[in-house]
Structure formats: C-alpha cells, structure tokens
C-alpha cells in the first residue's frame, strides 16, 4: 500500500463520516461483531491444541464472548489458521474460508501459519498462510501462549473498530 492508496482510503472514510446514518449503523454492527467473534474450529496442528487450551477454564476465551467454536464455516465469523498449512491442505483451507459469510476475518496463529515457521523449508509446506487466505492478524509463537491468542483477538477487535489506526502502524507512525 502506498501513500496514494492511503489517501484514497482516507477520502472514502471521510465520505462515509458525512453519511451519519450509515456510519452509525456500521458502528453499531461493528460493536456487535467485535464482541462476538465465533471462530470456525479450524485446527491444523500443535497450535490447535493451544487454541483448545484457550477455551479451557483457566484462560477462558468465553469471557469475551468468543468461545462459540462453530463446526460449520457458514456460521463462523473468524478463521484461526492454527498450525502448519501444508500444500495438500491449502485448497481445502481456502474453500473453508470461501464458505464463510461476510464479514469475515482470519488470524494466523503460530509461526507456521505466519510464514512457514520451523517447516518453511519443507517440500510439503506452504510458507505462510497469507498466500492462500487474507490474514488480518499474525500471532508469532511456537505455539503461542493462550494469552497471546487472546491478545491477537483483541488486536483484531481494535483493527475492526479503527481500521485507520491499524494501517498507520504499518508506516511506523
């Protein structure tokens, strides 16, 4: 994303701001969305177990209302790519992502999903899930602690509420 594109986005946001009704509806909907991400139970490897641990009584993801793991992608809002994404699995993962209804988000949990991680050199592994699925938040760690996952989800919440702020971080501002 370059400066020009950033300006365009700013303009679009400014236009939206003028349309008070739409903006407030959008804000209202976003308020609902950020308080109830229902993740698709998409577990691949080690990180999936840590994702399950996040739902256990000690870390308790449910405090945020995010604990309703849905088996069917049609009912999920968020895809947590938890684990090593292999080339054999990649088309399946993409298909599951495509089946989710908009608005949808994806989190890459663990280094394998971020950029191949320990297995980046392997012949069977996709080096980074972002070449298959648009990823919103990257959570490094091998596997990340449950707190890291919660932090990642809260970061996603911030990103939805302030898209401009999330973009600014990219330029180090």
């Amino acid at each position: 994303m370059d400066v020009k594109r950033e300006m365009e986005l700013r303009d679009a946001e400014a236009m939206e701001e003028k349309n008070i009704l739409l903006t407030s509806i959008e804000k209202f909907l976003n308020w609902g969305r950020v308080h109830s991400f229902w993740p698709n139970s998409f577990g691949l490897a080690c990180c999936a177990i840590e994702m399950a641990s996040t739902g256990n009584p000690r870390y308790d993801l449910s405090r945020f209302g995010y604990e309703v793991f849905q088996a069917s992608p049609r009912q999920a809002d968020l895809m947590i790519v938890a684990g090593t994404l292999t080339r054999k699995m990649a088309p399946v993962a993409r298909r599951i992502y495509d089946q989710m209804p908009e608005p949808k988000w994806a989190i890459a949990m663990g280094n394998c999903a971020c950029s191949g991680g320990p297995f980046a050199d392997s012949y069977a592994v996709v080096p980074g899930a972002d070449s298959i699925i648009p990823i919103d938040v990257y959570i490094p760690g091998c596997p990340p602690r449950p707190e890291s996952l919660i932090f990642g989800m809260l970061q996603l919440k911030q990103k939805i509420q302030n898209p401009a702020k999330a973009r600014l971080i990219k330029y180090g501002k």
Binding site: R87, K88, P91, R94, G116, S122, Y123, I132
Partner: protein, 162 residues
C-alpha cells in the same frame, strides 16, 4: 544382547539367499537382494524358538547408487530383534510386497512408495499416501530438488474427488 540361537538362524538364512550378516550396535543385520525378500521374511517370521514375527518398521533408504528397503523385525513374545535390508536397483525399484504376511505393512509400503518411488509388487492399493496424487517426484530421494518458496506459495488446484 543377541542370542546365539538367533545368530545361527540368521546365518542359515543368509547362506540360503547369499546374504551378508553384520552385527551393528547389538543388532543383527541381514542384507539380501530384493528378489528374495518375501522368502527371507517368511522364514524369519517362522524361526524356530526365536520367531521374528512382528514387522516393526519398513522404510526406504537412498544410498545414491541403489535403494534399500529396511525391515525392522521384533517379536511380541521375546527380546529377539533383526534388521533385514533388501537392495533394489535405483532405476527399476521393484520389490515384492509383504502385505500378505502382515496386513499392517500396507501403509508403511505406501509411504515408502510415496517417498522413494519403490514399487511394491502385489500391493493392494499402491497410491501416494502423504502427497497428493499428481505430485511429481519422490521427495525423500537425495536428488530431489525442493521447490522455491514462491512456487510453494501458489495454491495448487485440487482435483475433484481428491
């Protein structure tokens, strides 16, 4: 560690199939030509007193000029262990399947096929097991070139019914 009875039995077996016996880290190792593997394993399974009747592992090896299939034998009823190595040619890696002796060698042989291209004659369902069906090459061979990051990042097209 290696019992004398087993040593005798293995040397008898080696004499029959023109194989070499070696003792390595307290384990007997018999190397035979790939043609005799079915007979050798059947005999080893039915050794008197020290039957090596549990196929613990089956794997391929790439030694550059030829391929090997390594069979690790043990038993649920005794401490005896035996390693049988079958040599096969690199250009024409055909060897008899042992699925008729141990049904459970099915997956192990499929894996060896997938990784090394070893053709198991008489296997009921010799298809790739780890990689997808239209994958090219045998990744565990030493001359396999791993694709670059960019190539691997491209999503492959999934075949219908795969």
């Amino acid at each position: 560690m290696v019992s004398d009875i087993l040593r005798v039995r293995v040397s008898e077996l080696a004499a029959r199939f023109n194989g070499e016996v070696e003792e390595n880290m307290g384990e007997l190792e018999l190397t035979v030509d790939g043609r005799y593997i079915l007979e050798a394993l059947t005999d080893a399974k039915n050794f008197a007193d020290v039957p090596c009747d549990f196929l613990h592992d089956l794997c391929g090896m790439d030694l550059g000029d030829h391929l090997e299939v390594v069979y690790q034998l043990s038993s649920l009823r005794g401490p005896q262990r035996l390693r049988i190595i079958a040599r096969v040619e690199r250009d024409n890696p055909v060897i008899n399947s042992v699925t008729q002796i141990w049904k459970g060698s099915d997956f192990l042989e499929r894996e060896a096929f997938d990784m090394f291209g070893l053709q198991f004659r008489g296997h009921p369902n010799l298809k790739r097991i780890y990689m997808w069906d239209d994958f090219e090459g045998y990744p565990m061979r030493k001359d396999y070139v791993i694709e670059s990051h960019e190539q691997r990042a491209v999503m492959r097209v999934r075949k219908e019914g795969e």
